[in-house]
């Protein structure tokens, strides 16, 4: 049993929790190699987020919401440090399938026994804690796919089964998440999976072929839909058709952002944000608050901050020592980047409103903790990067 080996290594004094034959990194080395610049960028981002959140929740009156978010971030930082610093060589790769399997089981359990909230069945109540398996699945899928391609590429070139099997690995959880329904997370899972498949080294013919088949099936599926289903999709993409319903959020959000102008209305000065015009203003639509109060300059500054973080995590991917490391870190990077793109895209009216929070800024715990896990895994890759000659 592998669990037995875990117990065995717990008593290994040279490297707590580390596994594998080669000599583990010393704590000193781990601290030196830890990507502190990424850590710092995240702390800055979260701090900016707190300022925006303070305004979005309405200031002093709801300060407890801010404190709660700060506490969550604190927990998140611990998770990142633990995952990044304490993981030994190859350990995450070894347990990737197990992690994926358990998460998938939880996801299926949600389907049958989940807690319903806000019109969707997303949560699983385990010992008083509400667990959202779809969030865990984002990370688990990245690790499982990375493990798959890592194992395959060691022996042979990638073939068409290397397209098919990962597609199944992606499609099954995506289908369950879609069913909850949580369209945003499902799209996120699929998009991140697709990035890993591209970077894994599938031949371009296969990729183009897959895209072609996928694209060709769209008109077919469209014809099979009922009228009301089509209508639901068209309002998703053309919210202006329904200005008092689905379109309302996006119209108000655009007014808030546009009225911010170049320099914004100042901290706590956003009329749209503070007069309840803006729905979900401390969660999914928090970017509108920033853009209204800090203007174009504030918005661009936040984009720049996100860009730096993405750039920093992408660097980790380029420096990863093996295929698993590359794929995991690019997966985590794209998970983070896609959430930023989709959230801001929907808030500024470029993408349909699907319910994706803005990383490290939106109020809420699930997404934050997932991203902190992702950052932790990325940091772990960084510890064992090429320069250090270690395999993860």
């Amino acid at each position: 049993m592998r669990l037995g080996r875990v117990n065995l290594t717990l008593s290994d004094r040279r490297g707590l929790l580390s596994l594998g034959g080669e000599s583990p990194l010393s704590w000193r080395e781990r601290f030196i190699r830890f990507p502190w610049s990424l850590f710092l960028l995240l702390v800055i981002l979260a701090s900016v987020g707190f300022v925006i959140l303070y305004s979005a929740v309405g200031g002093e009156d709801n300060i407890r919401l801010l404190f709660r978010q700060m506490a969550r971030f604190g927990v998140g930082l611990v998770i990142m440090l633990v995952l990044g610093l304490m993981g030994g060589e190859k350990i995450y790769r070894r347990y990737a399938y197990l992690f994926y399997g358990i998460t998938l089981a939880l996801l299926i359990a949600v389907f049958f026994a989940g807690t319903i909230g806000m019109g969707a069945r997303r949560w699983l109540s385990i010992g008083g804690f509400l667990l959202q398996p779809s969030e865990l699945m984002k990370v688990a899928l990245i690790m499982a796919l990375a493990r798959y391609y890592h194992d395959r590429s060691a022996t042979m070139r990638l073939g068409s089964e290397d397209l098919a099997i990962p597609l199944v690995m992606i499609a099954v959880p995506a289908a369950f998440i879609m069913k909850q329904p949580d369209l945003g997370t499902a799209i996120m899972v699929i998009a991140v999976g697709a990035v890993i498949m591209v970077v894994a080294g599938l031949s371009w013919q296969l990729i183009v072929g897959a895209i072609t088949v996928f694209g060709a099936s769209f008109p077919l599926a469209w014809n099979l839909l009922h009228d009301y289903q089509r209508r639901r999709i068209t309002t998703l993409f053309f919210p202006e058709q329904d200005p008092l319903g689905a379109g309302y959020h996006i119209i108000q959000s655009k007014i808030a952002i546009g009225s911010g102008g170049v320099t914004g209305k100042g901290f706590m000065g956003g009329s749209q944000s503070h007069l309840d015009f803006l729905p979900e203003r401390h969660t999914d639509f928090i970017f509108s608050v920033l853009a209204e109060e800090w203007g174009f300059l504030g918005g661009m500054a936040l984009l720049l901050l996100y860009g730096l973080i993405i750039f920093r995590t992408l660097i980790i991917a380029t420096q990863a020592n093996d295929r698993y490391g590359v794929l995991v870190s690019v997966g985590m990077t794209s998970l983070f980047a896609f959430q930023v793109l989709v959230n801001i895209g929907m808030v500024i009216g470029l993408l349909p409103v699907v319910g994706i929070p803005l990383p490290f800024v939106s109020y809420g715990g699930s997404s934050l903790l997932t991203l902190m896990m992702a950052m932790g895994f990325s940091a772990h890759i960084s510890l064992y990067s090429k320069h250090h000659g270690r395999s993860v």
Partner: protein, 623 residues
């Protein structure tokens, strides 16, 4: 081999990674570009939108002007109306709450359904109106246990109140919700949907003065319409109060005298044309237009053959009957066709062109002069006089006394009456005027029509020496001169003779209104009976009485008082009782009651119904 493979992957992966990175950069560039578009290029436009978003202009209704009688008695008032409203958001269990309120407010099934329908249309933090026009008992019962009714409020709203009820209802009119026609009639007023507007009577005539100008409150609101705070307030300008020339006591005396009958009374001040009373019966309660009718009540009201909604004083047009005889007499004297010595013999009828023209008195009046002919209302005298005078002179004299044209008193729907002439008949019927038609015109029948207001104005002109004033209802200012329609151009001696005849009507031994002498003042008058249907007669000339009450003649009486050579007349009035029978028995007693009321020394007045001295107590706003 493995290293080669790994090396190859490394190179390939680097390429693909930067491809992904490039894609992400592209995505971020699009976001940045979009932000630039929204905030820098379209910023001003959205800033405007944002401003509109947060300011909601709310009207503050202006209190509508009140209406008083000449003595300051209130005729039309505003009063608070108590309404029960529930804020569904605060109520929690809305259905349960309504069920618990049910024993107090007794909603009908229909009302409940209407409430539930509105419940789903309205935002749940806005109060939903459950019931209006709460009684005091309902208000106090709800207030007593208001803490057990979450979300329940009693709202107070100003509504129109007609404290005199059915009294002067036609004159005052009522208000209702504005419709398209109203908007065309008052192009200068900017109505909003749901606004109230005068629908008839004074309420409509003086809409512009009464309504005032609504104020506006600029409220900062959030996206759902919830009010945050007041930004600015433009106070409303209250409507102007209106003081009428009506004397409420006289008005109510008139209504009491008419009670149970269908008819109208108009009382004027002959010195200036001011309307002292204008009553039309049966009447209606204008408060019902504010409360709302049930379909049953409405059906009853509009299908009543006595037309309670119509103002008979200005809309009712009746043949003036014998009251017209004074016109014929004046015409004859003005034409020089008669002097005070003129006498005719009345055998009870005359025959012209094979037609018998009867006097009302079969036996005839014998030899009569003008005074007796007026006093006893001899028909044959006026047949013969009319033959001498001719229709043209009669028509001229009638118009000189204000008949045949609207007075423009300032109320919608006023009837013009009708004074026939040769040219009129040719134009309308295309045939010539027959001499016989002159005869029946002379006794106020045939084509002739006049409204009670015109008849009152006619007798007022006779009382004041011949001046026809435009009747007015509004007491504007002390120094405002009355408007004159016809200056007095009646020879004084002619007038004196007619007046003598009119006095004999009341005070002569054979006068037709001798039983209606006033206790307090000497009066003059003229009875009239106007035919509704052509009477069937026996060979002997006796009228065969119809059994149908609706075929009974209208009873008329015009009068003025005091009738004295030294004193100016202060009151002129016309009474019409539809299907009342004879003027002497049905209409003259009504006039007597009014005159008695008006001239009785203080303390001796018997109005039949006392004016409401207390009025509506001022209600403190509750809740």
């Amino acid at each position: 081999m493995l290293d080669d493979e790994h090396e190859r992957f490394q190179v390939d992966a680097q390429r693909r990674l930067w491809l992904i990175g490039g894609g992400l950069l592209g995505g971020f560039s699009i976001l940045g570009g979009r932000l630039f578009y929204l905030q820098v290029m379209k910023g001003g436009e959205y800033r405007n939108l944002a401003e509109n978003n947060r300011i909601s202009l709310q009207p503050i209704s202006a209190p509508r002007g009140r209406i008083f009688d000449r003595n300051g008695q209130i005729l039309v008032d505003n009063r608070p109306d108590f309404r029960l409203a529930v804020t569904p958001e605060l109520a929690g269990d809305f259905l349960g709450l309504i069920d618990r309120l049910q024993p107090i407010i007794n909603l009908s099934e229909g009302q409940r359904n209407a409430i539930f329908k509105r419940l789903h249309k309205q935002r749940s933090f806005l109060p939903l109106q459950i019931k209006s026009h709460l009684t005091w008992e309902e208000v106090s019962r709800i207030e007593a246990q208001i803490h057990t009714f979450p979300g329940v409020t009693i709202q107070v709203q100003s509504i129109r109140d007609y404290p005199q009820g059915v009294s002067a209802a036609h004159l005052l009119g009522y208000i209702g919700e504005v419709n398209e026609r109203d908007e065309q009639i008052f192009p200068a007023i900017h109505f909003r949907s749901g606004d109230s507007v005068g629908k008839s009577g004074m309420e409509r005539q003086y809409e512009k003065e009464l309504r005032g100008r609504e104020g506006v409150r600029e409220m900062e609101v959030n996206a759902t319409g919830r009010q945050i705070r007041e930004l600015r307030k433009g106070p409303p300008r209250p409507g102007q109060d209106l003081k009428l020339t009506i004397d409420l006591g006289l008005q109510q005396a008139a209504e009491a005298a008419l009670a149970g009958q269908s008819g109208a009374v108009v009382a004027l001040d002959p010195r200036n044309g001011r309307v002292l009373a204008m009553a039309s019966q049966p009447s209606y309660d204008p408060n019902q237009f504010i409360r709302g009718f049930s379909s049953e009540e409405w059906k009853t009201l509009i299908s009543d053959p006595d037309r309670p909604l119509g103002n008979k004083a200005i809309q009712g047009q009746y043949p003036p009957g014998s009251t017209f005889k004074m016109v014929v007499a004046l015409a004859a004297m003005a034409e020089g066709k008669m002097d005070d010595k003129e006498h005719f013999y009345c055998p009870g009828h005359i025959i012209r062109e094979k037609h018998k023209f009867y006097c009302w008195r079969r036996a005839g009046h014998g030899q009569v002069g003008l005074v007796q002919a007026l006093a006893q209302s001899c028909d044959v005298f006026f047949y013969k006089l009319a033959e001498k005078v001719g229709i043209d002179a009669i028509e001229r004299q009638a118009r000189r006394l204000g008949l045949g044209d609207v007075t423009n008193i300032g109320m919608a729907g006023e009837g013009a009456g009708l004074v026939p002439s040769r040219s009129w008949k040719r134009a309308i019927q295309g045939i010539v005027w027959y001499p016989g038609e002159t005869l029946i015109t002379a006794i106020g029948q045939g084509y002739l029509l006049a409204t009670p207001l015109q008849m009152a104005n006619m007798i007022a002109a006779i009382a004041n020496g011949g001046t026809v004033y435009r009747p007015t209802l509004v007491d504007w200012a002390e120094d405002e001169l009355p408007e004159v329609l016809q200056w007095g151009r009646i020879n004084e001696s002619h007038l004196a003779l007619v007046k003598k005849g009119l006095e004999e009507v009341v005070h002569g031994r054979a006068g037709t209104a001798k039983r209606s002498k006033s206790e307090w003042v000497r009066t003059a008058g003229k009875t009239g009976t106007s035919q509704v249907v052509r009477h069937k007669r026996k060979e002997s000339g006796m009228i065969i009485k119809s059994d149908n009450d609706r075929h009974k003649d209208h009873a008329l009486y015009v009068s003025y008082a005091p009738a004295s050579p030294t004193e100016e007349a202060q009151l002129a009035l016309a009474v019409v009782i539809e299907h009342g029978g004879h003027g002497s028995s049905a209409a003259a007693p009504v006039a007597k009651k009014l005159i008695d009321y008006y001239f009785a020394p203080p303390g001796e007045r018997d109005t039949g119904s006392k004016p409401d001295e207390v009025g509506e107590s001022e209600l403190d706003a509750v809740g």
